[in-house]
Symmetry: C2
Subunit: 326 residues, 2 copies
Amino acid sequence: MASDRPVVGIDLGGTNMQVGVVRADARKVGPEKAILGVSRKKTRASDGLDAVLGRIEEAVREACGQAGVAVSDLGGIGIGAPGALDPYKGIVFEAVNLRWNDLPLAEILTGRLGVPVFLDNDVNAALYGEWGLGAAVGASDVLGVWVGTGIGGGLILGGKLFYGHHMTAGEVGHMLIFPKSPPGTRSLEHNCSRTAVVDRIVRLIRSNRASMLGEITGEKYEKIKSRALATAYEAGDELTREVVNDAATLLGDQIGSIVTLLSLEKVVIGGGLTEAIGEPFVKRVREATREIAFPDVCKKVEVVASQLLDNAGLLGAAMIATDRMS
Amino acid sequence: MASDRPVVGIDLGGTNMQVGVVRADARKVGPEKAILGVSRKKTRASDGLDAVLGRIEEAVREACGQAGVAVSDLGGIGIGAPGALDPYKGIVFEAVNLRWNDLPLAEILTGRLGVPVFLDNDVNAALYGEWGLGAAVGASDVLGVWVGTGIGGGLILGGKLFYGHHMTAGEVGHMLIFPKSPPGTRSLEHNCSRTAVVDRIVRLIRSNRASMLGEITGEKYEKIKSRALATAYEAGDELTREVVNDAATLLGDQIGSIVTLLSLEKVVIGGGLTEAIGEPFVKRVREATREIAFPDVCKKVEVVASQLLDNAGLLGAAMIATDRMS
């Protein structure tokens, strides 16, 4: 039996952390009512491990204060962290952004907070959130793809998060899409992440293609993020549309191949670039996915945008804690 | 509890069918001792459904006669059939080679033979055989890839055959490897099947590349099959080696991407081309797979040749029947 005590979900990123106190019956009350208190902080990994752990602890206490819940009354804590990790042992093997290696994070936080802590990958947590409360409720076989600085992914297979033998399943960004191209240019992430899209646009602007992105960014091209891309896309900037649409089609081609491999029911697309461009992006991905999916029955696959946006990670981490305790 | 009665396994192909009476304790006694009697026949789908069903029935009776087992004493029958099908409903949706559509094959054969019949895909059956008795015993997360006229695949995930939402999982041959190439040239099967390898060699011979395949086949290039390729490959024919090795590397690249996605423990490669060329082919696939697999822990993936060869399908079909009854 699951406890009815609230749980804390932590979405730990390389730049920001988001912490929320979440009701144990989150699935029943829905994503809006499920969050009782939140705290957001900078991660600042460069300050060192102790400083980051201290800020996590502080954020948990702040969110609990806002929710009117004592930390000792929590049923548990779930944390989604970036990088390679073992969710069952609670160890982060390697988180490059955080400069962490072989860190028994679950055990350390359990010691500091006096509450059982459950670890998972950040993308798995976001997908679990969408599966529990958002865009993929009730689906049994789901791929989640998050398109931002890089491309992360996660899998629900047979109604459960799928980890694989080495616990690293879901690394869609590192699949090759141009196997004969040189290393560094041939993966999905090298071609379809926001970073790849911006690099290509800047290269084309520097070779004299016209674009309103110069105006939008004051020619500080290194600062182009998803928002600037969305502004140019919506305003009809030809170069931006061409490069973004091409990336969406390539992404959909690869997702179509994955649907073919795994006979998936649903695909959830999220991340900064997807959220900024919105339905025009998702629609292109969906069309390419369905064109490629084999056999015909797989063309029924649903390709939808994430619904929980910034809260997917903390809600999913909280639900992982709830479900692993039950 | 599994019964200790023998079961029949049927490997039904577009050209040949192979039927074997298999001991219920096949896993214990091993593949050599497991088969008590066999019968092999042409499928001859052009004769029509009734004729094919009659030949299946006849082959089952012959194999049972050879084994000294009455059909009525069988614990069950497993059949691996090509095409899209629902293993749980026992219905073949579409088997192009056999000209079958929406055929309740399990029910029909149960009626004809008076023994419960269990259906699965032919490639799943072969993988299940390797997993139960051959190259992948004890592994929890396995991809099987069969390279012949086409490229078929199957997946064991979490220690079970994985079917996916639409029951069609494993269609690796239809994954794209050159997404920007025209339809008909961009899938794994279009580039790495034996058919694709032969087509490319013949094209290059016709554009005046030297090859001993002319001599080996009496210039009947349309008749090149895996054996002729293996003869030329072993004799050091440069063109054959170049094209076969290129296909093996591309296949390994794609398998590496799948290992990245699913964090697999093991990959079994089989089929006519793999068996004919043998270890030089498997080695190239293995090297490419490990080069591409991400993160580093996934480079431990084992890539091995199938062991049961022609008997994989019938042994696997028999074990599927045994395991579904237990």
